[in-house]
């Protein structure tokens, strides 16, 4: 057909109101088809035009051949949470295409391989059939490369239809394939083929446009795992022990890449050690061994790995050994959905291991905080002499986020309370677990300290404040009581909560981690739709700061929003709050494995409020 516009007449006519920089694109493909480069080029092109953008990869636990969706959200208002409904579909996976097109809202648009005939499935969306395979074949003689190039063809089609400047696409593509001219040429050929086809054969009917803004000036795009890796390197990590597990693996990959770049001496020696351990038990064991001997050590894992670390974490707590454990949470329980997100390891991290064990937890809510709180975790671990957990999640960790650039740390490293041989000369000796400063933290010595009084015996069995074995009831209890005091003191030492909004509302919200971006959007929705001003405090650490208690005390109803089934944050708060405040808590939960979206929170809130 000559016009290449078969869908014309099936839709409700050209839209009169333009929708500019406020929509979500769902790119539906099969995994292993190499669509990630294309998705990134499109996302970064929108970013390059100054439009706030976010990308979320919804991928299967599989190497190749299973359905994958990549959501690119452009938002002039700066919202970066997942949008519940995508207005634009790029359907490249025949298996899911019919379901995907059904999910479009009325008035949305679909770009698809022409033989899928999606125009027959929906008459209320703008349809753009494209002969992707033919176009790809015409510009890419090598059959093996076609499935990769096909993705670039879609970028060209989208760019033409949304009015994205090709020069910006070209420069992003060039950055992506820096120094690989042939690869660039092939891929840019794909983009151009798509662009030219759309220009020649498709008639723009839909209302969606990208227009240049200036809201991304000076900003960066990075994923949370890379940010954690940077945090570790600028915290001066020296020993890294880990076991591969989705979605945390890239924390170590980025850490290792940076260490190789930044931490090699002029004569080629490493000022670090990275060990891929035999399992997570060994990984945490190495971290504690290294922390005990004075290194800044960390591991990174996800739910199943953290479960395996339980026994060792109890040892770290009781023997008071520093270490940093990053848990990029995925959907549990058990193997769960390894490639989907959740915030469901909060309770198990807080009390990981048998006996009366408690751990401090840091909860970054953005990629910038992934960097900053990873830095902080190393200082806190050595200052507090205990394993410190940093909980992110797959959404924060593996997706790309817009951020202000990270700031270089303003304070020197805090290596905690360590006695040298000179100190021991002056003191005449020390007791490893005695609280001499009133902060419930003893002084330690490092193995190798050349002083006859430097040594002590580290053990997970009952010990006195002089690190001697004991089964004496009073001596045992004295150490346990001091550990409880140490934990209590952490309320003041850990990262303070962020008061996002605190007016005089009767209604307050509490949340942590990646829920933040959806909640910020939700507060605007509540204001617009219900005329309600609600307050919001974001929690950044456990044990909880007094400010969290105060926030609950100053609101009649407090909604705790979190991404798990069992209201884990609310449960921890209920253990901590005075009984009179506990009844003020309400829960809004999201736990289907997808990143939480604002609509879902707003809807649940309105229901519970009877609005």
């Amino acid at each position: 057909m000559a016009t290449g516009d078969p869908a014309l007449g099936k839709q409700q006519g050209t839209s009169s109101t333009r929708v500019i920089n406020d929509f979500s694109i769902n790119v539906s493909t099969v995994n292993g088809s190499g669509s990630q480069s294309a998705n990134n080029v499109l996302m970064k092109s929108i970013f390059g035009l100054g439009v706030p953008v976010s990308g979320k990869n919804l991928f299967p636990s599989n190497i190749a051949g299973q359905p994958t969706w990549f959501l690119i959200r452009a938002s002039k208002d700066g919202y970066v949470a997942r949008k519940r409904d995508s207005e634009i579909l790029v359907a490249l996976n025949p298996e899911t295409a019919h379901d995907d097109v059904q999910a479009l809202p009325s008035g949305g648009m679909a770009i698809y391989e022409e033989n899928l005939k999606l125009d027959q499935a929906r008459s209320d969306v703008f349809c753009y059939p494209v002969p992707f395979d033919k176009l790809t074949a015409s510009i890419c003689p090598e059959v093996k490369l076609r499935k990769l190039v096909k993705n670039m063809v879609y970028v060209g089609v989208v760019a033409q239809l949304l009015d994205i400047d090709m020069a910006v696409v070209e420069s992003n593509l060039r950055r992506q394939f820096a120094k690989k001219q042939k690869v660039f040429d092939l891929n840019f050929g794909g983009v151009k083929a798509g662009f030219d086809y759309a220009q020649a054969h498709l008639t723009k009917q839909d209302p969606f446009f990208i227009e240049k803004m200036n809201k991304t000036d000076g900003k960066i795009i990075i994923d949370g795992n890379a940010a954690c890796g940077m945090g570790a390197v600028f915290a001066g990590v020296t020993v890294v022990a880990w076991y591969p597990i989705t979605p945390s693996t890239s924390v170590i990959e980025s850490t290792t890449d940076l260490l190789k770049k930044l931490r090699v001496t002029p004569d080629g020696k490493a000022t670090f050690a990275v060990v891929q351990a035999e399992d997570e038990l060994a990984a945490i064991g190495m971290v504690l061994g290294a922390g005990w001997a004075g290194a800044r050590a960390m591991t990174s894992t996800s739910g199943p790995g953290m479960s395996l670390m339980a026994e060792f974490c109890g040892l770290g707590y009781y023997a008071e050994i520093p270490g940093v454990i990053i848990n990029v949470q995925r959907t549990g329980p058990s193997t769960g959905l390894p490639t989907r997100t959740q915030q469901s390891d909060l309770l198990s991290a807080a009390f990981l291991s048998h006996g009366d064990t408690r751990h401090p937890i840091l909860l970054p809510g953005s990629v910038k905080e992934c960097f900053e709180l990873t830095l902080a975790a190393f200082d806190l671990a050595e200052r507090l002499q205990t394993p410190v957990f940093l909980l992110t999640d797959l959404d924060l960790g593996m997706n790309n986020w817009i951020s202000e650039p990270f700031d270089y740390p303003s304070k020197p490293l805090d290596r905690g309370k360590v006695l040298t041989a000179e100190d021991l000369d002056r003191l005449g000796g020390f007791n490893r677990y005695r609280d001499v400063d009133g902060d419930a933290i003893g002084w330690r010595t490092l193995p190798g300290t050349r002083h006859p009084k430097a040594s002590y015996f580290t053990r997970g069995s009952g010990h006195t404040d002089a690190a001697q074995y004991t089964e004496n009831p009073e001596e045992y209890q004295a150490v346990m009581d001091r550990l409880a005091r140490k934990f209590e003191n952490m309320r003041k030492l850990l990262p303070a909560p962020v008061v996002v909004k605190n007016g005089n509302s009767k209604i307050g919200f509490l949340a942590f981690g990646s829920t933040d971006c959806a909640l910020i959007e939700c507060l605007d929705q509540i204001k617009q739709r219900h005329g309600l001003d609600a307050d919001y405090l974001r929690i950044r650490a456990f044990p909880f700061a007094q400010a969290i208690h105060d926030f609950v005390a100053s609101h009649e109803r407090v909604y705790v929003v979190e991404q798990n089934r069992d209201a884990q944050l609310a449960s921890l708060l209920k253990l901590d709050l005075p009984a009179a405040l506990v009844t003020r808590l309400r829960s809004i939960l999201h736990y289907n494995g997808l990143p939480v979206d604002a609509e879902s929170i707003t809807t649940q809130f309105a229901q519970q409020e009877g609005l």
Partner: protein, 345 residues
Amino acid sequence: MATAAHAPKLNHIGLPILDYRGGKSTLCAGCGHNAISERIIDALYEMGVEPERVMKMSGIGCSSKSPAYFLSRSHAFNGVHGRMPAISTGAVLANHTMTTIGVSGDGDTASIGMGQFVHLMRRNLPMIYIIEDNGVYGLTKGQFSATADLGSKLKTGVVNDLPAIDTCALAIQLGATFVGRSFSGDKKQLLSMLKAALAHKGTVMLDVISPCVTFNDHEGSTKSYKFMQENDEPINDVGFVASFDEIAVDYDSGEIFEVEMHDGSNLRLRKLHEDYDPTDKANAVRTLMEAQDNDEILTGVFYIDTEKPTFIDLLNIVDEPLATLPESITRPPKSALDTLMAALK
């Protein structure tokens, strides 16, 4: 002024043996582990190792308590069951300038700790790994361990019907570079092996048969004092000449397999088995497998390789301990972060 008692004998770094002692043992009287602790003290004293430069590592069990009974002036880490290898790996990575001695048991190594044990051997981490091997779980009152020999009997009459894991054969196959077996009752052999172990660069794995007088020293046990005295068959006679010792030539060189150690000392293995070559890995494993089939208990140095790179070599770690590198080295400068940020814009 009181007459000074005759001055204690000092080792070559000027310390008396008292400086190498530990706390009083709480193990049973006659336990083989106590004799091993004594030999460790002797070896460190005779080799003149600074006690403050030693890390004592252990897991859980009777054996793992024993680091409390030697070298009070060394830092010690009594970890969790079967996980001494991981803790040691971390500690050695943090400070590879230390002498690291791990004490484990047969349960701690060959059952719950097998996963970590094999990977430690594979990495050739520079440390001495001693298994105090009595074939039973003592603290839980006498269950068989995985090194108990096929057909050996518990006190209760229960017969072990599973084959023993030969930790030496395993260690050799997996990459440890100094592997031997000894008997807690053989002072001379054990001391020589420990001294040579201290001179070695790489993983030393010593399986020391150490009778449990309470649960496994009866008729029918293959890990009893009596059984070992009757069946211990040394594959070589282990002699050791430290680098600072004066070398006395008192052997027929044809009989001796001599190994120059990393620190310049000499390990001298007088051949008792015909032409046994402790650098021949395949032959070492085959010899051990044949011995197991023939119910023989071989002792001595089975395998040694002084050339293989250690884990520290492989990781190419700086000479100074990672633990105490200054911030100027471990924290990259602001310009490095600025460059990273610029690339993300």
